[in-house]
């Protein structure tokens, strides 16, 4: 598992990257009440705001951590946004991106570096 400074986790399987948010991010957000996902087959660039996530108190965005094509989104989050708080690193993945260059993942933090990043 790799991590971004925006508190996303990335899991690579072949050329498909599954993206979610970390336990830390879910805690910071608080109770998630609404999730809006991107369309599948969308081409996204790194940094594009592609998911809207709203907690009881505020709205935030999740950005595409890497360039590629959205190949699948987790519709279960639309019906049950609370899943993000219950299982952020498992069932509550947000989207899957098909990427060209798997070596691009090397730029992200590993678990130890991410723990340092959030001061744990």
């Amino acid at each position: 598992m790799k991590y971004t400074e925006d508190h996303e986790w990335l899991s690579l399987d072949g050329d498909i990257v599954t993206v979610g948010i970390t336990e830390y991010a879910a805690q910071q957000l608080g109770d998630v009440v609404f999730v809006e996902l991107p369309e599948v087959e969308t081409q996204v660039a790194k940094g594009d705001e592609i998911v809207v996530i709203e907690s009881v108190k505020a709205a935030s965005d999740i950005v595409a951590p890497i360039e590629g094509e959205i190949v699948e989104v987790n519709e279960a989050l639309v019906d049950n946004p609370a899943l993000v708080n219950e299982d952020p690193t498992g069932e509550a993945w947000f989207f899957k991106i098909k990427i060209e260059d798997t070596a691009a993942l090397d730029d992200f933090m590993d678990e130890d570096e991410y723990k340092d990043h959030i001061g744990e």
């Binding site: 109770d31 009440v33 009881v56 108190k57 946004p81």
Partner: protein, 371 residues
């Protein structure tokens, strides 16, 4: 996602240590470091308050004492019937300005020996100056914390410490003793539930709060749930539903203008902006406050523009909005042109999409006040 860093110097609540020990997260609000939530989180705290009893620290609010004979002078600033307020009772009011807008909203309690007023934290400096300019003997109370205990089990929990509260009705005020100190208690609140607001000497506040929290029915509740609770209860927040450019009639608070202060009343007018406000009461205001239930799950937050159809111009905006935990759905308050039919579906512009929202009667939840 990071916590907002406090650039300015924030004032700590007298009970900051207690909150921190209970796992509070703090946010800056009106110059204070306020507990926005505890470990349970906003949703759980909200639902707890609707089912049991929630303890809120609202010591940031302004507490002010005035001489007993100040009610007449206060009527010169507030369009409520204050001379008609019986001793032992509290009444809601607004400070108006010459343009018919609102400077702040407040509670006025007529007590045995004085008049006790509670104002919003963000306005208290201006409110005190405004009061001192027009009323003699204004004294800010700075040696007392203010707590609120809200929820259907609030009476049972508080009566365990202060039996006298069981005899109070909604908007009654009383001074009752707990463990040798005087508590200034009103049966009121800002959640739509039955409950009490309790002014307690600072040096006894932590012991009192701990005594309440020792009751398994009582949990600490942060500012986040306070906002979602008041939103579901359809209660306006100064700075959102009301401000210097929104009249009390537009904000749906015209009910607070007493009969005696209306045309034909014994003391009609006589407050700032009376001409405009009383005219609006008689003939209607240009805008009105509405309750909205957005379709779907997307919250409509403050600032979202409202439209009468899917592609027309704005006819108003959301003043407060979010997710209502008790309803399990988004809820919002809006200010719209008065000419829009009351049964029309409105459309909120959320991130460039026009999403439908139904106008519904307020409050969104049934109040639990003990009248």
């Amino acid at each position: 996602m990071a916590d907002t860093a406090a650039a300015e110097t924030l004032t700590e609540l007298p009970l900051a240590g207690l909150h921190a020990g209970l796992g509070a997260k703090f946010v800056p609000f009106a110059g204070y470091a306020m507990p926005v939530q505890y470990a349970a989180g906003v949703m759980a705290e909200h639902l707890w308050t609707r089912e049991k009893a929630g303890l809120f620290d609202v010591s940031h609010m302004g507490q002010v004492r005035l001489p007993k004979d100040a009610l007449a002078a206060l009527e010169g600033l507030i369009p409520a019937d204050l001379l008609g307020l019986p001793e032992g009772r509290q009444r809601y009011g607004v400070f108006t300005n010459d343009a018919g807008g609102v400077l702040d909203d407040l509670m006025v309690a007529h007590r045995a020996g004085d008049v006790f007023v509670v104002v919003n934290a963000a306005c208290k400096v201006q409110d005190l100056a405004h009061l001192r300019a027009h009323v003699a003997g204004v004294e800010e109370v700075t040696d007392r914390a203010l707590l609120a205990l809200q929820g259907p089990l609030a009476e049972a929990a508080l009566a365990g410490l202060v039996p006298g509260v069981a005899a109070m009705r909604f908007m009654d005020v009383a001074v009752l003793e707990w463990d040798g100190c005087d508590l200034w208690i009103s049966r009121s609140g800002y959640t739509g539930e039955d409950g009490f607001e309790i002014s307690v000497p600072v040096e006894r506040a932590e012991a009192f709060a701990r005594a309440l929290l020792a009751d398994g029915r009582v949990a600490p509740i942060g500012l986040g749930a306070r906002d979602s609770l008041r939103l579901e209860a359809g209660l306006p927040l100064y700075g959102q539903e009301m401000d210097q450019g929104i009249s009390p009639v537009e904000a749906g608070q015209g009910w607070s203008i007493g009969k005696a202060r209306r045309p034909g009343g014994a003391r009609a007018g006589g407050f700032p902006g009376a001409g405009i406000i009383l005219d609006q009461l008689e003939r209607g205001a240009p805008r009105r406050r509405v309750g909205l239930r957005p379709e779907g799950r997307a919250p409509m937050r403050a600032g979202v523009t409202l439209h009468a159809d899917a592609d027309g111009p704005a006819i108003g905006h959301i003043t407060s909005g979010g997710f209502g935990p008790s309803l399990g759905a988004p809820v919002a308050l809006g200010l719209i042109d008065a000419g829009v039919p009351a049964d029309a579906t409105l459309y909120g512009d959320v991130r460039g999409k026009r999403l439908p929202a139904a106008q519904v009667p307020l409050p969104f939840v049934t109040p639990g006040y003990k009248r």
